[in-house]
Each structure stands twice: as C-alpha cells, then as structure tokens.
C-alpha cells in the first residue's frame, strides 16, 4: 500500500485537470500574443483562467498576474518594494517569524539592500499578536506581509483584522496564501489585500505555475522585462497548459472536500493523541488548515520516523534538525516556543481530497508500531 500524506509539499494533479490541460500541448499551442486564430484560442483560455482565479478571491481579472509559482510571487511582492513608488522613502517591512523561506529569504535580501525588517513573534499556537503588529508600525513602514495558513503547523491568521490595521495606516498588505487558497475563503477586498501569492501544485494543479494578485494601481517593479506580457509585470510567453490546469483545479475545488478533509483530520488527530503516549499536537485545534496535522512525539527523532514509515509506503514530512540541510530545527516550531528536543520528534501529516479513511487507519496502525520500535531503541524513553 502506498499512502501519500505529504500534500503540504505537493499534491497529485487531479485527472480532471490533466484532461483540461491536454489540448494545450499539441492542439492549441499558439502563442497567446499572436493575432491569428492559434493565438486567439490560447488567449481566450488564458483570460478565462484569469477570470476563474479572480472570482475565487473576489478580485478583478486584470489584477491577476500569472507566475512560475508561489516562490516567484513572494519574490515579486517583497523585492518589488525596492523600486516601489508608493513607498519611496520608506524602508521598513513587517513580517512574521513563521513565513515560508520564499518570504523570509526575500526579506533577508531586502535587509542587504538597506531595508529594516521586523519579524513578529507568534504564540504557542502560531498566531501573531495584533498589538505587537500595531506597535511595530512607523512612518518608515512600507509593507506588512503575513502568511495566511502556515505550511508547517497549519495556523490560519486573521487576515481581516490585519488588513484593517494596514488600511488605517496606508500600508501595503501582502499575504502568502499558497496553503490556504481554495481551503479557506479569501476575499481580497474584505481583507484589504494589495498583494497575494498563489500556487498551482498545492491544490491538485500542475507544478511550476502560480499567480500573484496585484491590486489595481499598485505599482510593482517588473521582474522579467521583455515583451510586456501580464500587464508588463511579468514578461515571457505564458505557460498556457499550466495556467489552464491551475484554473481547472480552482474551478473544481469545493467546500465539500474541505469539510471531508477536516473530518478526517480530526479523526486522525484524535487517534494519534489517544493511541500514542507522550504525543502533542502542534498548532491550534481551531483556525487550523483543514488538511494539516502536526505532532511532536517525545523521545523519537523525526527523520527516523519518516524513513520507518517510508518503508511501509507512507509519505510524511518532519521539522526535525536531522532532516534539514542546515541541521537546524524548524524555525516555525522554535518561534512557537518549542524546545529543540520537541521539534526533534516532529512529524507533519497533510491530507488531500483524495485521502481516505482506510489510508488514515493504515497510517495510524503503522505509526503506533514505528514509534514503539524506535522508542525501544531510545536511551531516553525508559528514563522517564
């Protein structure tokens, strides 16, 4: 049995999405900028896709710019500040300690180029403190960038409240909504968002395609200079099959799937906590991404759990130091106040709409066995 429970990393492309993409390889292969019928039919597909995405987040179609993925969108949002007219003379960005590396490392780049960055703390469940946000704002602040749903522990921030604060102070508000998109309702107007990063492959679309929502009249420095595609913000012949697939994935996403994932997730959390002693859930019980469960399992190391489960055909991920290239524990868990040892035994399980109860049962059964085995080998477990 092969059980994929790492949908936070990427997802299976839905067969319906594959079907939608198929004509755009060898049948409808025109360049969307061409004037002839070949070009016009792909142009139509491109603009349809734009409308689908726009509708999903309550934006206008021309506020959607297609990119190569979430990473590029985050880079455009953050690094765009370097040449942003609205914020000339401002050199301060506020973000959080639990951003995706695409935002964190873009912030580092801004710091190397004269910007100051405030990294907001989070509480034990991963929520930022709105008072700290308010206090951090100064006349130099250009932008606030807060991840909507955290990719490791699934904490969902209150974008509406954060957006309200930004609006009052005339700040640019960006959010990385890569993980929450189609799982949590997003309304760019209600949330007062100026920029939002989206990605295709987390929602059963293809890899290498994403988008950024750019509010009308906001000037963002173009990344790619060229033939003026995408309102001049992102030149380059559009990845039509990818964009069509991305839009199809959005179109077929449903509230019913979200509810099902939530139910399965709660079942899984309940089982793991009750069946495996000395296990804690990381992240909140409520305001949590519908497909995310994240545990610390005492006295076993995450990478060892990962490979032991891998042997059984089960795919999960871990924030353990041993599994990272830098041998550092997850910055998200550390920001939530977890000790180094606690992040050590961490595993993340992320479901999809394709996950079944049978797969969850298979996972739990094997996790119990794997943890018991590894604890037997551990000199720490018996000491307690």
């Amino acid at each position: 049995m092969r059980v994929y429970l790492d949908n936070g990393a990427t997802t299976k492309v839905d067969p319906v999405v594959v079907e939608a993409m198929k004509p755009y390889f060898s049948e409808k292969y025109g360049n969307a900028s061409s004037l002839h019928v070949f070009g016009r039919e792909t142009k139509e597909a491109l603009e349809n896709a734009r409308s689908v995405l726009a509708k999903k987040i309550n934006a206008e179609p021309d506020e959607i710019v297609f990119t190569s993925g979430g990473t590029e969108s985050d880079n455009i949002a953050l690094k765009g500040l370097l040449l942003c007219e609205k914020c000339r003379g401002k050199n301060h960005v506020i973000t959080t300690k639990i951003e995706h590396p695409a935002v964190l490392n873009s912030c580092k780049f801004l710091e190397q180029n004269g910007f100051k960055v405030t990294y907001l703390d989070v509480d034990k469940d991963g929520f930022i403190n709105l008072e700290q946000l308010k206090k951090s704002i100064s006349s130099k602040t250009a932008m606030v960038s807060v991840i909507h749903a955290n990719n490791e522990v699934g904490t969902i921030q209150d974008l509406e409240k954060i957006g309200g604060i930004c609006k009052g102070r005339n700040l640019i508000f960006h959010s990385d909504v890569v993980q929450s998109f189609t799982k949590v309702p997003i309304d760019v107007n209600k949330y007062n968002l100026d920029l939002a990063s989206l990605s295709g492959h987390k929602i059963h679309g293809p890899k290498g395609v994403g988008a950024i929502y750019v509010k009308k009249r906001l000037f963002v420095c173009p990344f790619m200079h060229g033939g003026g595609h995408e309102r001049g913000l992102r030149a380059g012949t559009e990845n039509i099959p990818g964009i069509v697939g991305f839009a199809k994935a959005v179109e077929i996403s449903s509230e019913k799937d979200v509810e099902r994932m939530k139910e399965l997730r709660d079942y899984l959390i309940e089982k793991v906590l009750s069946k495996i002693p000395k296990t804690t859930l990381n992240g909140p019980r409520n305001n949590r991404l519908c497909n995310n469960a994240h545990f610390t399992i005492d006295n076993v190391e995450g990478e060892a759990i990962l490979f032991a489960l891998d042997e059984k055909g089960i795919a999960v991920s871990t924030g353990s130091a041993c599994s990272s290239k830098s041998l550092k524990p997850s910055h998200v868990l550390l920001a939530m106040g977890r000790k180094k040892e606690e992040s050590h035994g961490s595993i993340r399980i992320t479901l999809s709409k394709f996950t079944t109860k049978k797969e969850i049962d298979y996972f739990i059964e094997n996790l119990i066995e794997v943890v018991a085995n590894l604890r037997k080998m551990s000199p720490l477990y018996k000491k307690i």
């Binding site: 060892a304 490979f307 032991a308 042997e311 130091a321 050590h344 080998m377 551990s378 000199p379 477990y381």
Partner: protein, 124 residues
C-alpha cells in the same frame, strides 16, 4: 539518499538494547542536532565479548550504532579503538556528507564505554 546497507541496519538493527552484564558504559550527545547514543560493553581478557547500544537519533545514527557493534564484537580493545568514523561509513557503503557527524557519535560512544571499563578496572 541512504544506501541499502544503511537501510538494512536501520530496519534490522544488530545488538540493539541494554546489556545486563556490561562492565563499561559510554553515553554521548550530539551537540549539532541533539541526539543521544549509549554503548554497553562487556570486556573479558582485553576482548570485547559483548556489546550493545541504545540510540535516539536519525536513520544514520541508528545504522552507525548497529554497524559499529558488528565491527568490534570479538575484537580486542586496542583493535576496537582503531576503528574510525570513516571505517564505519565505509562499512555502510557510504553516508551522505551531512550525516558523517552521526558516525563520529558511534565511535565516541564506544571510546567512552571502553574508558569507563578501564577506569573501573584501575580501581579494582
């Protein structure tokens, strides 16, 4: 990323557990990532008659613990002390470079267990 031999030792570890009649015990922690390894030896006439281990750590840490004990069981103390982290890695068909520090852990734990045995011997 791991060789087949690493995975074999991880799945079916050798000499795992406590050793009741151990006359030398060594425990080391890994400052890099926080893992702990414990080696138990039973030495008789300068020879490692029995050895076992307990490890809290990654796949590489578990596999190196296991393979090291198979390398030194039945050897004299002097022979055992000559084994390096590279010997351990070689026996496993290689380790990813960022995992080499895990093999130092096993070698150090064994050294400590032998030191422990020797210090006890000296006091008798």
């Amino acid at each position: 990323m791991y060789t087949e031999r690493v995975m074999k030792h991880f799945k079916h570890p050798k000499n795992q557990g406590k050793l009741k009649n151990a006359n030398g015990i060594g425990e080391v922690g890994n400052p890099t990532c926080g893992d702990v390894m414990k080696m138990y030896v039973y030495v008789e006439n300068g020879m490692i008659k029995d050895i076992s281990w307990e490890t809290y750590g990654c796949v590489a840490a578990i596999a190196t613990s296991s393979v090291l004990t198979t390398l030194v069981k039945g050897k004299t103390i002097e022979e055992a002390l000559k084994i390096t982290k590279d010997d351990v890695a070689k026996e496993l068909g290689g380790l990813p470079s960022m995992k080499m520090h895990c093999s130092i852990l096993a070698v150090d734990a064994l050294k400590k267990a032998i030191e422990d045995y020797r210090s006890k011997e000296a006091t008798i």
